[in-house]
């Protein structure tokens, strides 16, 4: 099985575009739109990397990230966080919660691809 990414994003057209980009780049992409059960979904997905939106129905991306960092099986999982709120306090909050990379909308496709490749490369080296 190739590289796997789990995309937690409730905007279907953003999810579709990212899925297309990463699939073309050789990733196996699975998408999920609900925050409420996202932690369980991530824990059972065996993904190499998570792309996580901040504003999700059911549970915020920030809360999901904190829960991931509290679990042994997901503590070190690379997480790229996407948000429309680029204020420094949100960035600080995400960094304190243990985010691997923080990206604000509207992002470019190249930025997403670069971030995903970088995070995966870093995780592979550790």
């Amino acid at each position: 099985m190739g590289r796997r990414v789990l995309l937690i994003e409730d905007e279907p057209n953003i999810a579709e575009a990212i899925r297309f980009l990463l699939t073309r780049d050789g990733w196996h992409v699975e998408t999920h739109a609900d925050g409420a059960d996202a932690v369980e979904k991530i824990a059972g997905a065996s993904a190499d990397l998570i792309i996580l939106d901040v504003m999700l129905p059911g549970k915020s991306g920030m809360d999901i990230l904190r829960e991931l960092r509290d679990r042994d099986d997901t503590r070190d999982l690379p997480v790229l966080m996407l948000t429309a709120r680029g204020q420094s306090r949100d960035r600080d909050m995400a960094e304190k919660a243990g985010v691997s990379r923080f990206m604000t909308k509207p992002f470019s496709n190249a930025e997403v691809l670069t971030a995903v490749r970088d995070l995966h490369a870093q995780a592979s080296q550790t």
Binding site: E11, I14, A17, V112
Partner: protein, 432 residues
């Protein structure tokens, strides 16, 4: 610098205002010009008959020369220095600046207040971006749609063939998102238009209302005549919040005026003197209403001015009527020793304290305060209190009868070294 050492500066200022040369004034009061020069430079103390003669020659009351009216101004200057320029401003000479150049000093104080007001506006707008859920949701919608459009359009714009199935799907997505962006943009603009309509966000609503009420001399003749509150023009108030606060204030004013008609109230004052409790009994109203009524009388009704401050249970100042010599700093920065705040700890118990504000001004004031529940008490509901304080100047002849309670204006400009209520260090190393 002690209070009365500035008398000379005030004499000089007043002399220049009325256009006398030093020699002219010296001749009128029977002293030499050189001696007057020493007085004006605060190098000779002055009092007694000579002070009375000089005041008479300058057509002012002696107290205007010995006390001045610039205590609040000096306090504002020191506050400005404490906030923005302590390292460069000669804070120990603020009183001299106010005494010798009152116009420039007032301008500086006004600019300081203006800067503070603008800073509050910036904070409010910043707070709004952070905490307004409608604005946050609208912006999130716009940015998320823009992200989808940008990403999809970039895929479509790439060179090379795209499978027909994907191309059609992305075209459809692009169309959907373009429609969505148009709608969300319109919604955002409509929201901003609606909330900003006709409002100038510069200035705090409470301060706008204070300025509005002060410009009317704290007296509304139309309400005294029984006219409706709606007849009072509020167009000069720039924000909807200020107009809302003003209407509530005027409703209470109208209610007070109805309960204590002006002619009867003035008659009662003539009979009883300024005795708030007697006035309560006479009109069957509470102290709070009497305090408000006393602060809204036409100028000249009382032999002296009165000040008034109202705060809520958090200590936030809701209304201020300024009185010369008693510095009322900006909202939320007042001295916790004021009887206004003491009353909050003893609701419904009227408190009367003779106070003087630490600093250069030695004027004494009788502060009458009481805290009252804002709403009718109900079972199992904690009352929310407000507090009101009437500030009455103590006539010069009565000063010294009792030991006044020393209070400050705000910690930053208060010289008190030992104060359990101090919130933050003072910029003053010694008394004025």
């Amino acid at each position: 610098m002690a209070r009365d050492t500035l008398t000379g500066s005030r004499i000089r200022e007043r002399r220049q205002v009325v256009g006398f040369r030093q020699a002219d004034l010296a001749r009128k009061v029977g002293i030499s010009a050189s001696y007057l020069n020493l007085i004006e430079h605060n190098r000779r103390r002055i009092g007694g008959k000579l002070l009375v003669n000089i005041a008479s020659a300058l057509s002012v009351e002696p107290s205007a020369l010995t006390e001045g009216a610039e205590a609040a101004l000096i306090s504002a200057l020191r506050e400005a220095a404490a906030t923005d320029g302590a390292a460069i401003a000669e804070t120990d000479r603020a009183d001299e600046l106010a005494g010798r150049f009152p116009g420039w000093a007032e301008l500086l104080a006004q600019l300081f207040r203006r800067v503070n007001s603008l800073e509050r506006t910036v904070e409010t707008l910043s707070d709004r971006l952070t905490h307004d859920p409608n604005l946050a949701a609208s912006l999130h919608e716009v940015l998320s749609t823009a992200a989808a459009i940008r990403s999809t359009a970039a895929i479509l714009a790439e060179p090379g063939e795209l499978a027909a199935e994907w191309r059609d799907r992305f075209h459809r997505n692009l169309h959907q998102d373009a429609e969505r962006l148009a709608e969300s943009s319109k919604s955002l603009v409509a929201y901003l238009d609606d909330t900003d309509a006709g409002e100038d966000r510069t200035g705090v609503p409470v301060e706008q209302v204070e300025t509005f009420v002060a410009a009317r001399g704290h007296h509304f003749a139309e309400l005294e005549r029984g006219e409706a509150v709606a007849n009072v023009p509020l167009s000069e108030l720039r924000s909807g919040a200020a107009r809302d606060i003003a209407r509530k204030w005027l409703d209470i004013y109208a209610s007070d005026a109805q309960a204590m008609p002006l002619d009867r109230f003035v008659d009662a004052l003539d009979r009883t003197g300024l005795e708030p409790m007697a006035l309560c009994h006479e009109f069957g109203v509470d102290l709070v209403a009497v305090f408000r009524r006393l602060a809204s009388l036409p100028e000249g009704t009382l032999p002296h001015e009165v000040g008034l401050v109202v705060c809520d249970a958090s200590g936030s100042i809701l209304f201020r009527k300024a009185i010369a010599g008693f510095a009322l700093p900006r909202h939320g920065e007042s001295c916790p020793l004021w009887p206004l705040f003491t009353a909050l700890g003893r609701p419904l118990v009227p408190i009367r304290r003779r106070v003087w504000q630490l600093g250069r001004n030695t004027a004494e004031f009788d502060c009458l305060a009481v805290a009252w529940p804002q709403e009718m008490p109900d079972f199992n509901a904690d009352p929310v209190y407000r507090s009101i304080m009437l500030i009455l100047p103590v006539p010069t002849a009565e000063r010294g009868e009792t030991v006044p309670l020393p209070v400050g204006s705000s910690c930053r400009v208060c010289p008190s070294k030992e104060c359990a209520a101090r919130r933050e260090p003072s910029v003053l190393s010694e008394g004025f």
